[in-house]
Symmetry: C2
Subunit: 637 residues, 2 copies
Amino acid sequence: MQYYQDGFRGGKPDLKNAADTRREYAPNAMLPEKVDVLIAGTGPAGLCLAAQLSQFPEFSTMIVEPSPMNIQKGKADGINTRTMEMFQAFGFADAVKREAYWVNQTNFWTPDPENPKNIKRIGRVQDVSDDSSEMPHIIVNQSRIHQWFLEVMANSPTRMQPDYNWSVETLTVDPTTDDHPVTVTLVNTGVNKGQKKLVRANYVVGCDGARSNVRTAIGGELHGDAAHQAWGVMDILANTDFPDVRQKCLISSATEGNVLILPREGGYLFRMYVELDKLKEDERVANRNFTQEDTIAAANRIMHPYTIDVKEVVWWSVYEIGHRMTDRFDDVPDEERATRNPRVFTAGDACHTHSPKAGQGMNVSMQDTFNLGWKLAHVLRGYSDPSLLHTYSKERWTEAKRLVETDHQWARIMSAPPGTSELDKGEEPRFVRAFKENLEFTGGLAVKYDESILTGNQDNQALATGEEVGRRFHSAPVVRLADAKQMQLGHAAEADTRWRIYAFAGSADTSESSAIHTLADWLEKDANSPVVQYTKAGQDIDSVIDFRAVFQQTFDQLNYENMPSLLIPKKGRLGIQDHEKVFCVDHKGLGDIYDMRGINREQGCMIVVRPDQYIAQVLPLNATAELTKFFGNIFVK
Amino acid sequence: MQYYQDGFRGGKPDLKNAADTRREYAPNAMLPEKVDVLIAGTGPAGLCLAAQLSQFPEFSTMIVEPSPMNIQKGKADGINTRTMEMFQAFGFADAVKREAYWVNQTNFWTPDPENPKNIKRIGRVQDVSDDSSEMPHIIVNQSRIHQWFLEVMANSPTRMQPDYNWSVETLTVDPTTDDHPVTVTLVNTGVNKGQKKLVRANYVVGCDGARSNVRTAIGGELHGDAAHQAWGVMDILANTDFPDVRQKCLISSATEGNVLILPREGGYLFRMYVELDKLKEDERVANRNFTQEDTIAAANRIMHPYTIDVKEVVWWSVYEIGHRMTDRFDDVPDEERATRNPRVFTAGDACHTHSPKAGQGMNVSMQDTFNLGWKLAHVLRGYSDPSLLHTYSKERWTEAKRLVETDHQWARIMSAPPGTSELDKGEEPRFVRAFKENLEFTGGLAVKYDESILTGNQDNQALATGEEVGRRFHSAPVVRLADAKQMQLGHAAEADTRWRIYAFAGSADTSESSAIHTLADWLEKDANSPVVQYTKAGQDIDSVIDFRAVFQQTFDQLNYENMPSLLIPKKGRLGIQDHEKVFCVDHKGLGDIYDMRGINREQGCMIVVRPDQYIAQVLPLNATAELTKFFGNIFVK
């Protein structure tokens, strides 16, 4: 964690200096009449976006929510490893790790062939494969996720807070102006219920859920699987003789249906999903009247011979969810892409919904707005042309489509009771095999953006075989040269909308002379360098592109003082030196990043990483022309 | 982290349910007239004690402080590994790890033999030896440590806050009564400056620093080294070409004196100690008038050929400190030990002071009150006879004495410039060697309490050679059976004043039948069991003694459902099962706890650990009579 760059200030380092231009959030303060960005909805998608944009007092962001306050309990609870990597960039992954339940194993139970009335454990799978991510797969109350984002906002220079009790009713876009062309009608849901208010915005993002008014206003419709799956879900405090109650379990009974167990934070609480359309026919018909007691009774029947003695039902619901999505995630029909830029976006459930079984919904919603956030910030800070915003719908729609397809397939496999024949043969049952094959997907790690202005081609992929262009930058252990601290290289990245270039030195490179020195000097001084071209006067030299280097030596074999000046830049109000840009190979047994990520030892390489942690380019260290060209397509002078 | 035991409640899990009996801390609320414990001073010692006692609404605790608020900047900053282990028990070690500077290496610089005007690096030492602790040695602003303790207090059932602007002026003890026998005179230091107020207390703890009024009131005097060492110390934001500025450095120049560099949190700030009595004579005489500019100039001369360009002096001071201590840490003269129990205690600087060079002061102060806290809680909750409180002065005085002696020796070694002869011989210089030899001491890991009613003998030490009786329980990696989570066994301990018994199974033991089953059954049911004897009606079965077990198998080789009931107890308002008491050997390469801690594989053993994490006993698994006897000396029925 870096702080005090502009001088010492006591207290919590997460609390940033407040901007003079920040809005007043006092109880009776007026709502703004114009904002740059208006976000509808304080779910995971909306808050993830607000937390990013709250860092920038140069433009104004407002987030509205019909509810009077943050939720106390939420439907979603699973956080995959990819999302944890993103939380690390927001600074609260450590807090989540401490509070949350860690999914270490997933267990499979099916009818005991010798006595099919009983269930029996048939397999265990390590839930997070070794070195698939440095982060755990965790489960925690959705409301806590909201709170952590709300804290990031409250600590930001803008001290942003949601405007509760306001709902986006509708909006219109005036295509003839660039001055706040979106007129949003807000309606009060609180003490002045029904009162309307117009707010003009440059951009509107609908994170307002499956019944999104923003989506409706831009003519979007959810299409897809009409055959809804109905689930009874309950969060309970209960005693049981079922031995795996603190592990994630997929349980299929012979005749009574299926149950999914998800242990929850705090050591006692757990969630049970009871699949209602797998219940007996008479119960299925009664789905709509299915009670809490029915769910508990069904769970007990399915889990026979084990019993569940419920002490407190914390939350209970029957819900139906299909796989559905809209045709696009912004307000621009395909035929108009060439002639106008988007002004309105949708994210999360507003544009795609999923089965809860793979635990993807909340994760993919946050990843939507983590993709959109830096793009909006680039445009609103004058870094990029507004046409950059087309890439949001393109990238995330394609990804949502893949997700819906995989998830659909997956949900069917998980719901199909395993044939006894498979068990008899002693083979690994199909759903265990499918679960293992899908771990990368359920971890959120399978996302791969197609080649575009933001994502390069595979020409130099051989230089870093474990860091695939289009996929998320995969962290690995390193040691920081200046202070010999063991850390994860990926944790150098913060949710600050900066681009990063990680340069890996070749085997002949030293602290005295290296291709990295040449590259650093070019980046710092050459007229064609993107750092020179796009860093504005008065900004720190790493404000736009953050250049870091990794050497093959251990920390005691390099001379820190001989590093190129771009790697030891002087920054901030005081012009003091940043010591956290140069890394070495770990010397304490955690592994060699070159080996772990397939970095070419002889030549080294550079990896250009987008602000959302996805790999834009793998390039040779001398590929300066390619850097000029690549960033020239994204930034404007 | 375990929570929701008494039912679900949203929000931050660190915030505990408030006790009905909690004090009102509103601005104009009256001060109490009687309290059970009055703590003087909100430094590290006072706050560490208050944070513990705040958990118990059964008795009342008050902490007063002459200052109007928490400090913004502090003199102390080093937190050794032992203290970090304690912070883990308080729940804030993760937060500290995230914010703090980690001391990974300590480097040594001396005059370059070829050009003695220049300094040259002659050695590097890994600062925390492998497996000496699972925690890092860190450096962070003392005021942040205070804030973390204040948060623990604010989150506690009593919602405790300091009473600022009140100083303990003096106190008297009435030996004829047990009803709040200590009368304390508080004097206001705020808006009603000079106003006095009497508060009656059962116990008073003076954590009021080197000029302690509490110490004076009980006739204590600091004795010791009159030859004070004077230091110029500054926390600075500065640029330098000195390559090791982000590592701890001990620097000796040939003729200009010595400097100690301590990097600080945030990546930019660092502290420099300039030893003033090693400066040239004319400067030494002028010590008292030594300015900030003089300190900077001296540092630059010592570090030649490197230079320091100071951008901001965050804090600057000249201070003198000797090695001094009082004859006892309570109000009972030795000749009266048999006839009366202590009512007044001192802790931290109030009873012992140290050189800052080994970074011990703040650590040992907190360890004082971590020793005292559980003892006071035991007495005030009726668990133990008040005579238990004699052990505080005995244990901590002996430890402070050892510390002063080692520290004294150490400070002299570190101040003596190394002879060139040593360097010429190519041998490791004496101060590097001494530094290495002292790492266990500076880590706070050398503390060993003598045999007493609280600490057993070495009779069974061979059963656990790496867990020495009298020393702190040394954590190691395990996997929790119920959820297969990799964790540190030592992190099962919280700062909750409970005793812990860790039972290690022998090689023949299984989840179906083991010496642990026998022991657990005895502990749960036998009339001579300390659990049976000292757990009160209505309390959870692990409220007084928390029994946990470790097996030699991996998690997938044991049947959780067959564990004895004491290891899967039902607890809390709802009577729900605790799943966090049974552990296995790590299966993922972090090491085998039996090997790492020298646990006898064939027989196993049990380790009784005090509430302050020190090992009270190592015993065979069948040593029930010894348990009865041991706890019989500590608890009353």
